[in-house]
Amino acid sequence: MADTDLRKEIQEQQAEPLLPIEKKLIVGSLLTGVVLLAALVVVNLFLGS
């Protein structure tokens, strides 16, 4: 695809609403990440004490 077509495509993109699976992916990732990080912080404190 020509460079100008790509630039035009990026600038003129129409918004696609988030699908339910996308929302699940975002929320699920964040929640899992926060929980695992919290667990790692606890392990870190336990190992350090």
Binding site: M1, D3, L6, R7, K8, E9, I10, Q11, Q13, Q14, A15, E16, L18, L19, I21, E22, L25, I26, V27, S29, L30, T32, G33, V34, L36, L37, L40, V41, V43, N44, L47
Partner: protein, 491 residues
């Protein structure tokens, strides 16, 4: 970067021999040759090393005193020839034009190394009052000799943006991914020998590396994907590689994700270009910020660099610059930390993040082909994609790490000193590959062309994500896990 490096990566995933596998061959080769000195056979001592200089005739010397009969320039020429030989063989394996590679690599090597030599000029590199006295100078930019990396980068940027035809001509030898992967594989052995002296601290660093994985994949990726989709209106095809490029690891992650969600190749190429541009900007700024604000928390700085700079090359090299700057600042205050820990921590953080690219790509492929762009069963995500997208150079890193650690833990005192010298020789080549990486990254960064390619809106996502989120969360998590943990003192 536009089509060149990223498209090489895409093509390479389909070839049996690619830059990843070559780094698994060449890195251990360099490491193995260096270790020959344990058997009293010094195979790499002729390699050129650079010192801080006021008189250019004193800038270069062979690494080992036993090769003292060689002049500095002869040592550098020998280093160039050795690399030309090995990398031309690598180019042949990659089915590149070997004669063209040899010619362009020659120009690349001498330009890049000239930058390194310039970076060691006392008025640029000298830092402490003792240095000033030793070299008879009254001022210096205090960049340390690792400022040579910045000069190589700037020279590459000048070539890319003001001499684009010359940059295009150099193309065959501009292979930052190959150079940095070889460097990281060699670095595995260097880190292992450093870590062996302080295993408790090393295992602490490893544990905290796990936090980096969680942060990059589960937290950064989700937030950046949401920002790209919801606030910037990017389609799924653009938002997923963009989120991976900004949150995980630049080029490799963007391409792996693009392939996983079956995006058009040019999407990943453009995203990769963006990540390289911002990595260049970060390398020029973050190490100096780290020195100013985090000098008394060296491992917080190391982790922060690893979490914030999003290409392997720029991150690990930025770790090297940060180490030089922070060690020097502390040395001026009478605190002499053992070298290698800051660079090692940054490299470990990056390697840990890279470990999971294949798994993340598979997860995204599964979601995309099963729920979003539902594919025929034969086109759905397969578990073999985890292996296909796994960065193979990490196998080389693990190999040299295991060998280095085993030797360091098993050798007696006398041979331990020989091992340290051997690692020093391997490190010469690690530094040389870093120099080539910095120069190559600069040559690939034609800002005007990238802007014409439609980078503006993508760059806006990067700016918002990086400065609104990635840097601060990275700093917070680095502080949480590394605050108060210091490298051991030297000697």
């Amino acid at each position: 970067m536009t089509d060149t490096t990223a498209s090489r990566l895409q093509t390479a995933t389909r070839l049996t021999i690619n830059e990843d596998w070559l780094s698994v061959l060449i890195g251990p080769l360099v490491f193995g040759l260096a270790l020959a000195s344990l058997g009293n056979v010094d195979l790499l001592g002729w390699a050129a090393t650079t010192k801080v200089w006021t008189d250019p005739s004193h800038a270069l010397a062979p690494f080992a005193p036993s090769y003292g009969a060689l002049s500095g320039l002869a040592a550098l020429f020998a280093t160039y020839l050795a690399l030309l030989l090995v990398l031309s063989a690598a180019a042949a394996a990659l089915k590149a034009d070997v004669r063209r590679f040899a010619l362009t690599f020659s120009v690349t090597f001498w330009l890049a190394y000239a930058s390194w030599i310039l970076g060691s000029y006392a008025h640029l590199a000298a830092v402490t009052p003792a240095d000033f006295s030793k070299y008879g100078i009254s001022w210096s930019l205090r960049l340390t000799n690792e400022g040579g990396y910045i000069i190589a980068l700037l020279l590459g940027l000048i070539i890319a943006n003001f001499f684009p035809r010359f940059a295009a001509w150099l193309n065959e030898a501009i292979r930052p991914e190959l150079y940095i992967k070889i460097a990281i594989v060699v670095l595995g052995g260097v880190i292992a020998v450093t870590a062996a002296g302080k295993l408790n601290l090393a295992s602490t660093v490893f544990l905290r590396g796990i936090a980096a994985i969680i942060e990059a994949y589960l937290i950064y990726w989700a937030v950046i994907y949401f920002i790209a989709r919801q606030y910037f209106g990017f389609s799924r095809e653009w938002a997923a590689p963009l989120a991976s490029g900004i949150s995980i690891c630049g080029v490799a992650a963007a391409i792996a994700t693009g392939g996983a969600i079956r995006a058009r190749p040019q999407v990943a190429v453009l995203v990769s270009s963006l990540v390289v541009v911002f990595a260049v900007i970060e390398v020029l700024i973050l190490p100096f910020l780290a020195q100013t604000f985090l000098a008394h928390e060296p491992l917080v700085a190391a982790s922060w660099i690893g979490l914030s700079v999003k290409t392997d090359g720029a991150a690990v090299a930025a770790g090297g610059i940060t180490e030089a700057l922070i060690l020097t600042k502390n040395a001026a205050e009478g605190i002499n930390y053992q070298p290698g820990w800051i660079l090692g921590t940054t490299a470990t953080i990056k390697v840990f993040i890279d470990l999971f690219i294949g798994i993340w790509a598979f997860i995204l492929a599964h979601i995309w082909t099963t729920y979003i762009n539902v594919a025929k069963p034969s086109s759905r995500a397969k578990l073999v994609e985890i292996y296909q997208r796994f960065p193979k150079f990490i196998l080389g890193f693990i190999l040299t790490f295991i060998i280095g650690l085993s030797l360091a833990l098993s050798l007696g005192k006398a041979q331990a000193a020989q091992l340290t010298a051997a690692i020093g020789e391997a490190n010469i080549f690690r530094v040389t590959f870093f120099i080539l990486t910095f120069f190559s990254i600069g040559v690939l960064s034609n800002f005007r062309k990238l802007w014409e390619d439609g980078l503006g809106k993508l760059a806006a996502v990067y700016v918002v994500s990086l400065f609104g989120f990635v840097i601060w969360v990275g700093l917070a998590i680095s502080w949480l896990f590394f605050h108060g943990i210091k490298p051991p003192l030297a000697g």
